[in-house]
Symmetry: C3
Subunit: 269 residues, 3 copies
Amino acid sequence: MTNKIITLTTDFETRDGYVGAMKGRILSICPKAQIHDLTHDIPPQDLLAAKVALQRSLREFNKPAVHIAVIDPGVGSSRKALAAETEAGFLVGPDNGIFSGVLEEFPPNRIFQLHEEGPCWKKHSSFDGLHLFSPVGAYLAQGGGIEEIGHPLDEWLRLDQEKAQPSPSGWMGKVLGFDRFGNALTNLPGRQAGPGARLKIRDRVLKGVAHFEEAKSLEPAAFLQNSDGMLEICVWQGSALEKLKLQSGDEVMLVEDPEPRISPAATKA
Amino acid sequence: MTNKIITLTTDFETRDGYVGAMKGRILSICPKAQIHDLTHDIPPQDLLAAKVALQRSLREFNKPAVHIAVIDPGVGSSRKALAAETEAGFLVGPDNGIFSGVLEEFPPNRIFQLHEEGPCWKKHSSFDGLHLFSPVGAYLAQGGGIEEIGHPLDEWLRLDQEKAQPSPSGWMGKVLGFDRFGNALTNLPGRQAGPGARLKIRDRVLKGVAHFEEAKSLEPAAFLQNSDGMLEICVWQGSALEKLKLQSGDEVMLVEDPEPRISPAATKA
Amino acid sequence: MTNKIITLTTDFETRDGYVGAMKGRILSICPKAQIHDLTHDIPPQDLLAAKVALQRSLREFNKPAVHIAVIDPGVGSSRKALAAETEAGFLVGPDNGIFSGVLEEFPPNRIFQLHEEGPCWKKHSSFDGLHLFSPVGAYLAQGGGIEEIGHPLDEWLRLDQEKAQPSPSGWMGKVLGFDRFGNALTNLPGRQAGPGARLKIRDRVLKGVAHFEEAKSLEPAAFLQNSDGMLEICVWQGSALEKLKLQSGDEVMLVEDPEPRISPAATKA
């Protein structure tokens, strides 16, 4: 028997009991569900943060896991609800772009707009997480056919983040946000950073490092390629966010070493 | 084989390792337990918040789930410890009112005061969560008989929240608290709100909406019926708590539309 | 079939999706894993806090649970990675002292330095939690032989906390930190506190209590023996941290009752 893996991603936090209610609803339909919390701490209604966290997490999963995500400011309105079958598992949630990163990386085999009512679910005015998405997810985990739960969807909402652009002086990008350590995530792809590259931000010129500890001797900060393949700005045992007083949207530029050394090896920070 | 579902609800947060210890204790007694975190973020020692979150979550569960809850300022004192069998599952925790909402909604088939010591548990001076409630919950999940673990309890502590009252000018109620989005939960039952109802709070008169997005054009806020059937005050993509500078205990009044329109349909916000 | 219990302890919080990625990686290798979050809220890079939380939690577990812990400021550097077999289960994580409390309490049957690359893992420059520790943990949970994954390790890093010391006037110790309630944990062993003992901190002299509720009538605070057997300073329904304006590192002294009463019984606070 395959495990019935269901993951949950919300911006509800847990203290109000809404996540607990979703777990109860899922287990009452699919008692053998293995529920895994991905996070309930997405910043309130932050669709972009949800998109990034979902893509980062879901790419590690396989079919037939079921992924329920509820960051849903449009609940109760005419926004659509979707279910998709991908190689990373089934996706269930609002059609508001939070899944668009996963769907770009794992184009759906099949994708459906959910019926507003089904054998064990019904669209709700304020809590589709409980009344629609949890039961639909549990139904899929139980082996229910995805073609029964809605009608084919041609198009889904995409949430795009600004991409870094080449310019005569280097790659121009932005700070997209900060992780819990205060590392600043940028939209600069790591593959653009040659061995002598420098990252400019707010009149600072930062050197690249291979890992965090190498940033120990670099003032005020450094940059490295993170596990998503993107460049991020880091401070050894500290927060780049606080130390450099950064903000989301700050401009960054990736340039070649402004003071090239004799040997390429010597330019390694 | 039925799944051995155990849920945990505490005000411990997780960082200190106390919740981890409870999980270890449970699994060492009942290795097949499926432990589900409901929340560990109940505000410290906030019995009312625990009562609300437990009722909201547990009503979605069925027997034979076991629900352990430890919000327990009286640990080590003479406060009783209880275990109850209800249609929402077994309840295990201190007799301090946190389960009283669930017990009102699901009157117990059987309810017991726990023995201070049993085959695998013993009352503790500062951490009954580990030494008493976790092992008792694991024992019940293993199929242990509830009648073995204590003696019948006649009465249990009830925690009552003030109820809304009718008055000549409308229903008078209060703000009970705020969810993580800053929505203000009131004790006004949704069924009292006719189609032209208005909610008065701090000299503001708010209109009702069917869902959050409808509040987009309503300044400064609106109200809707939440999934518990109660009225809550909301701000589109914002926090009613912050925008209206509300506090727990603020008075609210539900009144008929002060400026009635010609047709009832037209009064829908 | 034994349950395949895997626990996770990190300082990642959950919102960024890194913990979700670890769960996906584990489940893609060991689909029957029962993953239990111990905590993801260890303060950033706080090795001592991790050591304490791990020891408090893991002592409640048994073999063959697998415990993955990733508080890892040295990721990508030359710090070693380890796997150990103990009576509390397998330990997998960086060799930076976070497991040293558990290893002192449960000396390892076998302990290995992980190979940098294996059948399903590979050391990474910034996220060994995903690329090294999760797959190694999943491999062990699947029943993989620990002797295959590395070479024997003779010595591991120990993180020592200052111990309380006897002095002519009493036991001298320190405040080690605070739990989520604001109770101040000290390094004074509870067994040193006789029935008439007093705890001195910042010109305050505190009495001992048997449980929290007994502290009700004691101004400004009291102390008790916690479930780890250590003394902690508490305030009834409040925070010792805030009320006494304490800090980690504050000196504490355990003394005999400065004003002894006639009978020992009467000295009980």
